[in-house]
Symmetry: C2
Subunit: 256 residues, 2 copies
């Protein structure tokens, strides 16, 4: 479990949680459990996604994937244990009032469920022709749901106003989708060393991707427009959105 959790990675989801919380002057120590829980769910999903029966990836975060190092059985169990740990870490944080903690646990459970659902749909359409709407819905579950959860976690600890909540919802949906399209593009255009995992892995597995449907250039335009839309949206927040804008701009420029 520590082998995979401590291997690094972008830590994009917890950073999103901390950054959102920072907009509302929330004491960031109060956000630790939320940020950990989100990252733990993400890491468990990577361990399982990498399994031979799933995406069969032998590299992750510039090291052999969990099942390559510990065998399939222990990798499955590491993922199972990490999922449980995510809920434990969050339920144990007594700095968060019980009614809000319940809300966070519920959101985390729903996101973790949708993520597994999305991955299940993803595997069921290998080698099949699907349209953009199908791909959008699938990725909304597979990637978008946990990213939305990461943003909500940053805001939910404080009682932010309803208008901000709606804006952040839409923002997180847009960057969630942008992030996935960008991942598809990077899988083709980046190098293995920078990615920390095998390149062209989608192509090898004959998975439906945005570049395969829209072409590479159009895919880049689509994800950049989504990021720009997201940046535009948060300018209407009741607080200074600068840290979140800068993070979003950085995401748009990422090459891994």
């Amino acid at each position: 479990m520590s082998y995979s959790v401590l291997a690094g990675g972008k830590r994009f989801r917890p950073i999103l949680t901390y950054t959102t919380a920072s907009l509302y002057d929330i004491d960031l120590i109060k956000v630790d459990a939320c940020a950990c829980a989100i990252e733990l769910i993400h890491i468990y999903s990577l361990i399982h996604d990498d399994l031979p029966a799933m995406d069969n990836d032998d590299m992750r975060h510039n090291q052999p994937s969990s099942h390559k190092t510990f065998g399939e059985a222990q990798a499955i169990l590491a993922g199972d244990g990490i999922q449980a740990l995510a809920f434990e870490v969050l339920s144990r944080d007594e700095s968060i009032p019980p009614d809000i903690r319940i809300e966070l646990l519920k959101l985390l459970a729903i996101s973790a469920y949708e993520m597994a659902d999305g991955q299940s749909i993803d595997l069921s359409v290998v080698s099949k022709k699907v349209d953009i709407e199908f791909l959008n819905n699938m990725h909304k579950k597979k990637t978008g749901s946990l990213i939305s959860c990461a943003v909500k976690f940053g805001a939910l600890i404080d009682n932010i106003n309803l208008k901000d909540s709606d804006i952040l919802d839409s923002y997180s949906n847009n960057i969630g989708l942008a992030y996935q399209i960008q991942d598809d593009v990077l899988d083709i255009s980046s190098t293995e060393k920078v990615l920390g995992k095998r390149q062209n892995s989608d192509l090898v597995r004959d998975k439906p991707t945005y570049p395969a449907i829209l072409g590479l250039d159009e895919s880049i335009t689509v994800y950049q427009d989504l990021y720009k839309k997201a940046i535009d949206e948060i300018s209407s927040l009741s607080v200074n959105e600068k840290p979140l804008r800068k993070l979003t701009e950085k995401l748009m420029e990422r090459d891994f």
Copy 2:
């Protein structure tokens, strides 16, 4: 997910939760989410345990196991989704006050974690010689933890007194261990049709079992004594323990 969850099985853990709750005159509708959450965690663990990389069992509850019917990838994801669903079901039940719901979610997370930990230890000692103490500790995590959780769930919804809480703790530890030793015995002495899964599966996989260390007759004596001790303990509860005693006696007599 429904294929495995609705296939039946003994439903022993949720029955334990309902029975414990019934001792304290708790409205059983309030127990539904708890009972479901416990059973969902149990079922997810069976789906993953049955995988080729784990125990490689092709039959479960008298039907082909999940991976035999849906393939390994979908079976892994069904288990992942069911674990998340367990936390969702419990976190959503608004009939349980938030502070108690948090306590239940924490217990469920800890039990689910220990269960994965116990299974990991179990797989790491295949073909190795271990002693009874090691086996007891392993099964306390692998099987005992969720059984203890099932009993606590029945009691925690109401605020029972501390003495009853201690008694139920000890009771659940004893029946948890008894249940596992009995499973080992039944794996040798029962028939496949009655068990609903392959017989002698432990022996085939060269797993350390109680009969292998203690012999069959001694194993039977040990688990019967544990059940009797558990029945004796609950006679000191502040309430009429009859329903729980009857359930425990039924368990002791089970042949599957």
